[in-house]
Symmetry: C2
Amino acid sequence: MFTTLDNLAGPGPQPDQDARTRVLECAYRLFYRHGLRATGIDRIIAESGVAKASFYRHFPTKQALVEAYLDLRHARWMGWMESRLSAAPDARAWLAALPDALDDWFRAPGFRGCAFINGHAEAGTEAPAMTVTHKRELAARIARACAEAGLAPPDEVAADLLLATEGAIVRAQMEGADAARGPLLRAFARVLAGPERAAA
Amino acid sequence: MFTTLDNLAGPGPQPDQDARTRVLECAYRLFYRHGLRATGIDRIIAESGVAKASFYRHFPTKQALVEAYLDLRHARWMGWMESRLSAAPDARAWLAALPDALDDWFRAPGFRGCAFINGHAEAGTEAPAMTVTHKRELAARIARACAEAGLAPPDEVAADLLLATEGAIVRAQMEGADAARGPLLRAFARVLAGPERAAA
DNA sequence: CAGAAAAGAGACAGGTCTGTCTATATGCTT
DNA sequence: AAGCATATAGACAGACCTGTCTCTTTTCTG
């Protein structure tokens, strides 16, 4: 599994890979960089150096390629996050390190926001299920850490941390990593400060 | 100025309006509902009941129409927010009421997230400047309220509130208003609780 | 080695996209 | 009444879109 930010951005297609991999890596880069609708099949075929018939053998429709792209992105992103936070000695430290990890991501070259937020924004209700599933799995992972860290109720704390995470992603995308860093760190610090969280 | 949520969603084109207004109202609905790229000029022309030449007289390119749409959306959204919060007796109450106002918006029929976040997600660096400008003006408005409410430093507090706002918009878009409400209320309550905010 | 699966190259179809053009009708202003 | 801006109606161009098809070559496997 890819665990570096460079690989998160995508290694790009390489000649010695098989046709399916070349197409998928190429789509991975172009879909993230330019968006789903803005990226045409023809361009992916041209840049991946694959024949059209070969493309349609592996991906019967563009939609299938989009879904494969989001699946791959999900696997890589989660893998990167786990790897980036694997040094944390316990769940509490894991949660405390999450904002720094996100900040690294925001500063990685080619950062253009969250592929799932962007995909959902573009496709709306017709967006692949992974756009929502990714967020649910992230929420579940954070909730697990909250439970292990003794932060109760874990689902509620996780929802609070996810809200801050989403906000930071959008802020970083529109205004840059510097604009997101401070508010994100403070939001996490406040949520993790203790159970004396204000009720609605 | 339009001040209701229904009008925020758009009144739609009406026969007695002039051609430019009919086009713009139609674009307003379609761009928000289906996205920028997914909405073709031909469809806007057909649904607004305008001749193609008339369209291109008022909007030399599609990009110009997109910009006009975002300008209008900005004006209406800010107008709606001010109207919705005009009953607040002071700046403190104004800030405290913001999450409820946002929650109303999330629950309005046809809610599909923030037009500026969505537009930026779709068009990236080529997105119209208004996608970013809108957020800056909203941040400035919140910062003004923070200053009036004696929350210091106002820009920092405003950035914290904006982060929560953006996160809530995205959560509401992907998971529904119910998922966003609790975390948003708690985030605001924490930030507004006092100046003893944890440092990074 | 022989057959099958996969890949390459590219023509083609049918649709949609933005934007231009011609021709005609309507309504306002002077 | 004349002229002009604006409207309608719709053909048209040229590009791009997804997806299908044919034909040849390579590569893998039994």
